[in-house]
Symmetry: D2
Subunit: 325 residues, 4 copies
């Protein structure tokens, strides 16, 4: 079984641009740790800076980790919810803002290490653009690469993983898909720089996520972390994993196994109108099921499928694997 | 169990705009009938005029129906693959073309009745437009309604069912989604006029097809026929049913049951690179599975789900229903 | 020239699910009125209940209207940003919530009339569903129709206009597209019930908005109001009108003219990272340009285009009309 | 002014999967050359192997080139319309098919050189997959890279340019977007290997094509060729350039200028229901206009826009640039 974790905020309150107050009630930090710990099979937690962890509350966080026995899987520096980063963090047109993005990332690398973690997962949600003629694409991608490179070189014992997304909150993001991010990582050229797959981000970019896992293996073995959720294909709906798709997740878990992925698999969802803890629990239950189904795929069968490439054979095999029909 | 059928061409050859010769070999009419009849559980067949049936070969078709024991489920008049209809059939700017579309539909109503059928399924693929300022939308929708109305009044013992599609081959089709088509049917105002759902066409229009079934029930009980396939959500990929989605089909079959649908369920797919017969067989095997799963949903459970509206409860119930977990 | 207006919040602050504090600073009510009034060519304003107008501040609003000379174009009841409506307003599974939605709508009809308006524009953003098996589609659409009907009958001197949207904040909305909404209006069957087009909502539903105007004309003359913005086609990006598309807006304004639309045209945008007042000013400047271009289309030219349906002729005509080439 | 060219088939007949006979009449090779030559401002032509050029008719092609004075801009080897390549050319599971794809590409490199060209543009339309579990993504991408590398090394005086596309005719293509293709080119590691941008292919992959030009500049200066058309964003509609979008093309031409692109710009469209020659002429007229508008952008203005990143400023500048308002 893989290691499963939950982003702390997933068991909290969720707002959108219309419901600013959130659809749920707010939860205290300690409550959220308890809620994560209550989900069977979960051994890790991810934190977002500012929202959950900062230099000020690092001891409280440490106590919560110890109390619940949860491992710190990663810290996600908040480059998306602070007003100064509204027009970009690593790619802000203001050099002092770019400098802050780097400095705060380094700080989170230190804190992650202090809390027993070794991973910072960057989600550069504001690093992109909205309108034509708004950005100098070459310059801004270069700023991004330079900033992340500086973070990577700051300390080699913490990995820096870039989570790509095609859009939202910007209409266009610079690390937009798996290949776009790998190009940047090629320029960054640091061994502790890799990629976080968010299943739903990839799906919105019309990626088959199993192929994205393969691409990350092939071009540098760069899959560092995984975030999970489901959606309808057009937007990052951040739904419970397995609520819409089934077979594509089996293929995804199969390729995680095939490529030897050993990291954590986290929920990353926005169950606006559900209890967050229960919605995370549902996703984890589906993780277990998909992983078990993937584990049941034997080498002989897969070799035959990859040799024939027959969609008819795939269909029959899937029906047998999933439903014993 | 529902009645399952296959569109005859689904077991034949498939071309696209690049592979004009088709990916498979061509099959003779008799061969195709045999191939359909060989799929276990299939009792009906649909024919496309010109491609499979015409005034000239109607006896050969009748013999094939008798020989194989297949019921004629519908005839689909070819309003999409004949050059004269390239810029529209019922909505051609040329009145003589519009008149031909009506006349040929009536002819197919006669032939359907002669062959033991009672349904003509219209797929007005060319009735739409590609560019801004190309069509007078009010005039052309009116032409469409007038033409179909005339067909419906021609003989009341044959039903005329309109299959909607958002796009392809036109960039915009007039009967674009379930509601757009119901508006037209309201103007046509004939009891023998209804709707054919093509699962994939609806999905590309971002319909949840279970809701589309409900809409057709609510606004006039107008679901006359069903075509099945799967896709990735952006295009009418016409894949094997069940190859990508699972739960959405269970909900679709559940709503067919809930609304008392009694008609046929046909494959309508383009398995370009597969043997068509085997690909249809796969879809039918999934039909059976989905229908059985839908049948296992009890009223008490569904009432509880609809009362709570809880996505967490839905998720747990689906996992239990499908995988007994 | 048409009458142009601005939704008051468009000149304020904008948050999203990540930037809860908003990208801009907050503005006081009076400031926002001044900002609207400062946009040349704007003579009206729309208000959202709770956010801008309520029984408590109605006098302050009236003073602002009088002071600025702006006409109240509509009130949009807040059925989307109040926690009790998080799982639906008119379609809440809780009858007391449905009742509140109706009552508050009636209250806003009274206030609109008191403030010199005659239009309430409903945007039932929460009336839909997110997951399969979450909603009884027939029951919930019926609740929606019953609730709106009751509002329409409450007072005939105020029009009730439904703004459709395919998704967001729900993954599926009940009034999802122009035709879906017209079906509901057919059941509501009240002359003071109509439709608000939001250009971007239609575009995300893959509507050609010019055709949507035509459809509203043809099926009951039901276009009551217009909201404007631009997007990339996949999401309600709520950008400055004219920033991405050009020709489609010319066709849209042409069909407004052709169908005799006499109402207001409002900005409805979320310029997160821009000064809202300036972004509205930009949209209004584009409105003027598009309307002038549409006005320059003569009947003879358009008749020739609609007769030939030639995309080549359209292309040449557009290049001439827009760029005199 | 850039150099403009036309793919020969663009002035011919166009079929789709429903209209196998094509919407137009067929044209002879000589006629098509004449039709291309008749478009003002066009100095080059592209040919597809099998469809237009082969070892058998190479003299006839040469005579046509000489007769019309058109330069051979590229040959596109037909890896998409021959049955043997139906399940892949460079990535066929059959090694003999992969070998043929390489051999035929080399042959076209020779013929291109013989005809005065120096470019082969690969469009590996069949190199991808349709269903989950159908392909071994790592193996098949490696086959692709090996095959193309062998072609590149065959003769250094002919450039080999890969045209990416997210989907169609496969549901997933291996060279799916600009970055995915650059990753492959990194592995191929030959200086004569680059990228063909097809504007519409990029748009369907939700690329802002101006950014794609920038990416190709930044990561190796790899833009070798450009194909042009327009679409609605969801499918490769292959429409007349400029029929839907305006400002995005201005930005695209601006970035061609900014990055010093010196190659040809070709039409690549499927004007099914239009006269192909006239539809190409329309695109070329828009090319000229967009290029002129891009040329009118001065460095000072663009520097100010890129410094502020203000969407309001961009909007005002575009309205001034395009419409002098």
């Amino acid at each position: 079984m893989s290691n499963f974790s939950i982003i702390l905020g997933n068991v909290g309150n969720f707002s959108d641009r219309f419901m600013g107050c959130g659809y749920q009630r707010d939860y205290r930090l300690d409550e959220m740790f308890d809620r994560v710990a209550s989900v069977k099979g979960v051994t890790g937690v991810e934190l977002v800076s500012n929202w959950h962890v900062s230099a000020e509350n690092v001891k409280q966080v440490k106590q919560n980790l110890e109390r619940t026995g949860l491992k710190l899987v990663s810290i996600i520096p908040d480059h998306f919810g602070v007003k100064k980063y509204g027009k970009g963090a690593f790619t802000s047109k203001d050099p002092s803002v770019r400098e802050q993005a780097v400095r705060e990332t380094k700080e989170m690398m230190d804190i992650a290490q202090f809390l027993g973690g070794d991973l910072v997962s960057l989600w550069p949600g504001q690093d992109g653009y909205d309108y034509p003629f708004q950005g100098d694409y070459i310059q801004e991608r270069t700023w991004f690469e330079e900033g992340v490179k500086e973070c990577c070189r700051y300390r080699k014992d913490v990995r820096v993983s870039i989570e790509y997304k095609q859009k939202e909150p910007r209409n266009f993001s610079y690390p937009s898909n798996v290949s776009s991010t790998l190009l940047m990582i090629g320029k960054i050229a640091e061994p502790n720089c890799g990629v976080t797959i968010d299943y739903g981000h990839g799906a919105v970019a019309y990626e088959n996520l199993a192929e994205s896992v393969a691409i990350l293996k092939k071009y540098g073995d760069k899959l560092f972390h995984v975030h999970m959720n489901d959606n309808y294909g057009f937007w990052d709906d951040d739904m419970i994993t397995g609520s819409i798709h089934t077979i594509p997740y089996v293929e995804f878990f199969y390729w995680l196994k095939r490529t030897g992925y050993k990291g954590y698999i986290s929920t990353d969802q926005y169950p606006y109108r559900e209890d967050g803890r229960d919605a995370c629990n549902e996703s984890v239950r589906w993780f277990e099921l998909f992983e078990e189904l993937a584990a049941n795929i034997d080498d002989k069968s897969i070799d035959a499928l990859y040799k024939s490439g027959s969609a008819v054979d795939v269909s029959a095999y899937m029906r047998k694997l999933l439903f014993n029909r």
